[in-house]
Point group: C2
Chain length 540, copies 2
């Protein structure tokens, strides 16, 4: 049986475009002689639709788009993900469903059983779990059709009491199909393949897996749709971070392929470029503006933006103060010319003086402190936002994860921006990204990579004046944030108690700043944002 798998980049709520895309792929697959074409989970509305699901009108649009797509399913079957209404009187309003379309109509609807409700997932907020299990018949082939998490209830780590595949095996399927919305993080591709292989091995069935590609606000989907043979060997793997549809023959697996090992840092780079590109494209914007300090963070963000949007669409603004070093200005100018991006220079010293004057009576006799440092950052914020407003550019935020974690940044200052590009990338990883970007030639000035990090808000300032060295800081942060290790466990791991108390205290106390941060492109298994929900007024 020839099956097409469509790894699509849809847009949340854009029913017209999503439908057109799906119908186009169905028509192509027909021409190529496929008997079945498979689309990702909730393909009709995009993933995650979040609280739009609370609007009947939104779900009505999904269902009517599905009905329209069904008309195109003559001499081919399509499986398309969509929410559907729970028509019983008990339970949540909706199901997360896979619609099986054939003979111009909706032939069957299969609901998702296991509803991930952790990290970035909120599915039990909206959906009732399925409790009826049967296979889907396509041209005589019995298919165990499941949705994403349905395959993730591993024997050694059972998050759920029911396992849909266990139930479906009673009906003797000969093929597994799983439609998914499984977002990227730098560990996910490997884990995902392991989980899928575990299923193929356990149930001794070939497995067709279709995932989304593209970014939806902060979530980046890498695709990785694939076909595993019944002996759990990888037969087909669609390229990461690209839209693609592939026809495969599930009865005649071709030779096994090896996993193309993209390095972790290369995949992060691809993810961030896609994240920026889709944020702009799907919002209807073309141009970005950012403040360029001469430091590593803004350099890497400028490079990523130039790659994602084209250098002609990136405007770097240098905003020097009396504390900006000559080398920083030179590094920033070199970077601008290396990447061919646009440049403006606006010194902030006179504006700063006007604030000093405005506040001089009130602050009379008080020493300069963090207030004045923050004021410089905020003046830059006002200027960048003025440019953003005047020209319709989106301001890119350039804070890294280490800073965001410990609150080393100024709210409404350098924390401004519509999208945080590297807010999920630790400082040590930012250096890795810079080296990766420079792997062919020195695009980011070498000096930017080697000098000591500094916010340059007072004479001779260095990050290490107020923070531990990033190598150490990032290790503690990783174990605290990504691995949920508490203070006691961190000390048991060998980190100094005073350091652990200081860093975890900073992370907790700065929840209020992160609450007001721009959405952060997610590349790690635990990013700040929807996947990490902390109280602000807590004592812990």
């Amino acid at each position: 049986m020839k099956i097409s798998i469509a790894q699509l980049n849809v847009h949340v709520g854009n029913f017209k475009k999503n439908s057109e895309k799906i119908i186009h792929e169905i028509e192509q697959a027909k021409k190529q002689g496929s008997e079945l074409i498979v689309f990702p989970e909730l393909a009709i509305c995009g993933y995650p639709p979040r609280d739009f699901l609370e609007y009947d009108h939104f779900v009505d649009e999904c269902v009517s788009a599905i009905a329209n797509i069904a008309k195109h399913c003559i001499s081919i079957t399509a499986i398309v993900g969509s929410p559907s209404f729970n028509t019983t009187k008990v339970g949540k309003r909706l199901y997360n469903s896979a619609f099986v379309l054939s003979d111009g109509r909706i032939k069957e609807i299969v609901h998702k059983t296991l509803l991930p409700t952790y990290d970035i997932f909120d599915e039990y907020r909206y959906f009732e779990p399925n409790s009826v299990f049967k296979c889907v018949d396509v041209n005589g082939k019995k298919i165990a059709l499941t949705i994403c998490e349905d395959l993730w209830n591993l024997d050694h780590q059972k998050l759920y009491k029911v396992s849909p595949m266990e139930e479906l095996m009673a009906h003797q399927p000969t093929l597994m199909i799983n439609i998914a919305a499984s977002p990227y993080d730098y560990e996910q591709a490997e884990e995902r393949l392991a989980v899928l292989k575990w299923n193929a091995k356990k149930y001794k069935l070939p497995l067709v897996y279709v995932n989304h590609v593209g970014a939806q606000t902060e979530l980046i989907f890498d695709g990785g749709s694939l076909f595993l043979s019944a002996d759990a060997e990888l037969v087909h793997l669609l390229p990461g971070f690209e839209e693609q549809t592939l026809q495969l023959d599930v009865d005649k697996p071709s030779t096994h392929i090896n996993l193309n090992n993209t390095s972790k840092i290369a995949s992060i780079h691809k993810a961030l470029v896609l994240g920026i590109r889709d944020y702009f494209r799907k919002s209807g914007f073309q141009k970005a503006v950012l403040g360029l300090s001469g430091g590593i963070d803004s350099a890497v963000v400028a490079a990523l933006a130039a790659k994602a949007l084209g250098p002609e669409n990136v405007l770097a603004v240098l905003l020097p103060s009396q504390y900006s070093s000559d080398h920083s200005i030179k590094d920033a100018e070199d970077l601008v010319s290396n990447f061919g991006i646009q440049k403006q220079v606006i010194p902030i010293e006179q504006i700063y003086t006007s604030f000093e004057n405005g506040l001089s009576d009130f602050f009379h006799g008080m020493n300069p402190d963090l207030t004045e440092e923050n004021m410089q950052a905020r003046i830059r914020g006002v200027l960048l936002m003025a440019i953003s407003n005047k020209f319709g550019h989106i301001l890119l935020n350039t804070s890294n994860k280490s800073e965001v974690a410990v609150g080393y940044g100024t709210l409404y200052g350098d924390m401004c921006g519509g999208l945080s590009v590297i807010g999920d990338v630790y400082k040590t990883q930012v250096y890795e990204l810079a080296k990766y970007i420079n792997s062919d030639s020195e695009l980011i000035p070498e000096n930017t990579l080697v000098k000591a990090p500094s916010a340059e808000l007072r004479p001779g300032q260095k990050d290490s004046d107020s923070l531990p060295e990033y190598d150490l800081l990032d290790q503690v942060l990783y174990h605290y944030i990504e691995c949920s290790k508490g203070r006691t466990e961190l000390v048991e791991m060998g980190f100094e108690k005073s350091l652990v108390d200081r860093i975890t205290g900073l992370v907790n106390r700065n929840e209020y700043k992160r609450y007001q941060t721009a959405p952060i492109l997610r590349i790690s298994p635990k990013a700040f944002g929807m996947g990490r929900r902390m109280p602000i007024v807590a004592k812990y």
Copy 2:
């Protein structure tokens, strides 16, 4: 049987203080001869602890605090809410539990069955539902002990397949006890009482209900702990918005009482005052700063802050520009003197000029537009944040819900602040609050209530230049946001199609601004924040 019910104001994660408070109440109840004392849901750690629950260390602290409290339970039984570990190999890591403490030890642990996962609730994110049902025996009395949502699976609106009380009735209890974490909104007290009465009526049992009081970041708990007789009559009701412990005799219900009808606007006022007070107290801050424009929003926030923190702890800053009207400045000054709050005046015109100069080359030949209006708002933001930083005051945000909904505010400008006081209060409700505040004497100048709302960012500007009249706007917003009515339904309700499209479009497009808003004190059934989760880059 004499039972004490302890409507406490605990603090998320503050195990030391929470334990002391609980132990103090146990000792008092002992002295008064109570056989049982009941505390709210998750009383040991506060509600909601959110992702702190993902830290084993946090849950360990809960369990060890409970063990310590148990030691005090000699000759009295206590019921205390706490998370507990799921020790089976299947399901989520934790249960949401009620610990029954007696004879100096943990006698029983009852788990919550129905886990609310909607609006502001995320319980299935953390907890495994209970599936074992038995009554708790206290001195020979058989008690059906449940936790909050367990009583909310109403026959006419079954969100869940299991109903814990149905299961427990098989064991013939003679009393229901429900421990809760049920946050305030202006409809909740009435709905809560109706649901509890429905249960008492259905199961023909008396009901003891114990709820939290106090605010945890944006959530405000109003208490309303009560005792219903077996004929579903209200026998005791604890006062709203106040910590209190009451001893009652469940076998000798005294005369029935009538519900003390607090007006809706009076309850909103109490809720906001408590919300401000607890935000400051629990964060360790005393003083607030806010920008006072002479308009109604900042006037009401100043009044609420003065009530919550004391006038001596509120600093109002007047930040006039060339567009500020004389009457606005006078209204602001009158308000300051009526409330006896602190005042500073910092004109922004010269700072504005310095920005114009800084940007003049870049903006050469371009007409003034929203950019320049936003710039004024942002200059005010920088000044207020400088004062906040210098003196350690928390900046109060003064945006109302109507503005926040349609994006009529400047990001990093008037949207600055650590806490949004009236971001869940529609403009029309802000006027009601102002009248309520003025019910005894004219504290907010009458002129502030009668003049046309204006942002005063250009000559002669009025809100109605860019927005529909608030009476109409608020109606559409209420049905769109609180009632989840889609565009088609709104038009069917009689609102003009062009108006509906315009307003819903504004709400959706401004999701990106709300993403970066301060936490908003929640007083409605659908507030912006954790209870309303929308994608930013969606087309709908």
